[in-house]
Symmetry: C2
Subunit: 501 residues, 2 copies
Amino acid sequence: MKILFAVLAALIPAAAQAAMVDDVRAYRTAHEAEIVGRLSELTRMRSVPADPEGLTNTAARLQALLQERGFAAQLLTAAGAPPVVFAELKSAGAKRTVVFYAHYDGQPVTPAEWHSEPFTPIMRAGKVDAREVDMKNAKPPYDPEWRLYGRAVSDDKSSIVAFLAAFDALKAAGRAPSVNIKVVWEGEEERGSAHLEATLRANHDLLASDLWLIGDGPMHQSRTPTIYFGARGTMGLESVIYGPLNALHDGHYGNWVPNPAAMAAEFISSLRDAEGGIAIPGFASDVRPLTPAETRAIAALPPVEEQLKREFGIGRSEGSAGLTASTMRPSINVRGFRAGQVGSSAANAVPTEAAVSMDFRLVPDQTPAAVRKKVEDYLKAKGWTIITADPDLAMRTAHGRLIKLTWSGGYAALRSDMDSPAAKAVIASAGRAANAQIAILPMMGGSVPINMFADVFKVPIIGLPIANHDNNQHAADENLRLDNLWAGIETYAGLMADLNW
Amino acid sequence: MKILFAVLAALIPAAAQAAMVDDVRAYRTAHEAEIVGRLSELTRMRSVPADPEGLTNTAARLQALLQERGFAAQLLTAAGAPPVVFAELKSAGAKRTVVFYAHYDGQPVTPAEWHSEPFTPIMRAGKVDAREVDMKNAKPPYDPEWRLYGRAVSDDKSSIVAFLAAFDALKAAGRAPSVNIKVVWEGEEERGSAHLEATLRANHDLLASDLWLIGDGPMHQSRTPTIYFGARGTMGLESVIYGPLNALHDGHYGNWVPNPAAMAAEFISSLRDAEGGIAIPGFASDVRPLTPAETRAIAALPPVEEQLKREFGIGRSEGSAGLTASTMRPSINVRGFRAGQVGSSAANAVPTEAAVSMDFRLVPDQTPAAVRKKVEDYLKAKGWTIITADPDLAMRTAHGRLIKLTWSGGYAALRSDMDSPAAKAVIASAGRAANAQIAILPMMGGSVPINMFADVFKVPIIGLPIANHDNNQHAADENLRLDNLWAGIETYAGLMADLNW
């Protein structure tokens, strides 16, 4: 990587590169309050699956923000899905067109787990135990270690705000984009983007481009500016396992009436072992091996495991392959389970049912349909009767091991070519903006539906994450570190201003 | 049993037996509203662990009810425990003294799971889907299939009300008890009676007797009047298994950061299998086998398994030994578990911790200390580090498998002699009151701390349950079927009026 970066960087006059970054940084320094205000405004909008109106309002607001900047912006709609914000801006003399993708929806929230209201953004001087900053009286420049807290503040509204601020900074400096820009900001990513592919195909010509840049995901844990060339796929699975119709005294019946919580434990343990390994025979038979280049890229990453164990308070890892190598494998994650009660509310009773929430992370060349079939075949072989709706009494009494499965949001993984001309141009441009060596990941552990983009458009798909890795993404107290936003603005501006190939 | 019953019944003049039952039934018929009103009044009192004042108020009310009836009543108190209601009434010419035990506390409630308020008793025409009865306008005699709903209405306030009504009925008929009566009504049974033994020992002479009658537990599922000669012991175990300090995106970290929900599944599955069998090697090494008489008593019970499978909506049982034989074994019951979220609230995150609530049912000659040691030794051998308080960061990072264990409420099981003179007298007296063959259980599957009574007082301990088996004991919509209360009053009166040996 060092050699590649040095060679590419040498092709660009150092003065032009430094001048662009200086311009953008000067603009940002003068507009910190406005940029943070924009991120706060968007975080206040409840764009989560539980609030369809919040999603729609957010899409309308984003459309307006793009129109204010001269973009031709519209909402691409599909029944049952939040609108896709699409916008376009041509640049005189540009020969390439780049789509900037992000998503404006956030993960569901459990407010009781948060230290502040998820949709009332607040600034803290650092991590969640740091003092709250009085933003009414705070004067820029802000401490770059400050963090803004709120659902979707980093995942993924930070990318949207970085894009807007970068565009504004270039405009203020009189610098025209080097590429034609298209924007695709969707609102269903956290639920698996079930309707997105149909919308993309229906608007295939409108969305024609030479490259997609995916503004999503966290930066590498070393805080090195990061590019990724793929992402794991995902699919969700909600399961319900049935016990007796009514909760029953577990002394009188507990050895005889099947216990659905114990059955759920058996169900989970039969799918994945304590090292994260998947116990389904043949599950990995369609997994594409890493290429030597991908393996080398992983080996070149700065080591972060010991730092992360301290940061996360864990005494072991699942498996011994190291973090990035581990996330190159398919996985089954238990997101949660529920049965009966625990602690002071626990009654001595056999629960009526147990619920288990899981998601699967897919790698190339797994498909959601194949994963589903393997899981269901395996469960049937283990004696489970799979149903898709709540059972009636006849169903309950006819089958000893009933499990209701509800699959959702499936899409496949992508690892795209790290050596295409577009890939080389992006690596070079991001490196110039950062003025540093960058981290290159063959595939991100998390999921964005970028395989769909590759399938539909047959162009390079490259990820450009800006959020701090410790942003509590998908959990309580999600946050964005200001320094990441500042660096992200420079990266976005750098790509807009000098990307070409 | 048929022969035994016939021989004993023949010793008592049929006329006296019929007259006593007629008197009691006539009293009950004339006082149904008052008796149901008493049970409603007590059910309204929030005598659950979460409400210490509710427990204290209930004890004071019970003391007053006994004093109104001429009992010398007092509250036996211990620091940290609800009072034990003790009362005594001598009967002229009686040579035996019998302690009537019951408990006035109920299991914790989860109101959201109930169809009515747990502490606002309502009458329904049958099971929970039956119409509500307008008790303000209902005129006795009530339909005996009606059921009163509320926490502790059956477990165990029904026994207390049956005792009071039986006493009142005998008094109204001018019938003196055949034995001296002592009353022990405790308030900590549903939490394991942790303070009771010390209170009993401190009042050893005050509580001297020839027999304890345990008014707790459900009747046999065949609705046959029931006597039991023991009960399983119990101990509770709350476990917490630790994942990362903050919930982490399960795509980026899910294959590498240990998942506490998956670890909890492994923990549960390693303790008990899907058939309820306990997987800890040597766990049953101190279990006392059933005697031939006990095995015969179980074989003589009416079969209920097929009826119960339909009633409970289950398609299989754990193990193949049949219900009563199954509950003669030790067991591990999963009362509940919690981690992350499920359904629409599920976030794609590795949860921070998983909680598992279990109780153990003990059989003779297991002890709580030995069970605890076996469980903990087994977990240590499986690589768990056992802690008893929340871990700090150093503890978390030093150990890969941390589990916090909180044991509670342990006591041992009892199976007492079915052939003692007192046992024979109780069987005969209960049979006369019921005018039917009764169900004799060597040991009840559920737990009452009766081994403690045997240990402390070295007298026979015999169980006399009156609640319907389908009373939703320990669960939502706990209820008492009126016919069970009516029959219970007759059984209590029969024992008070003619028990002797």
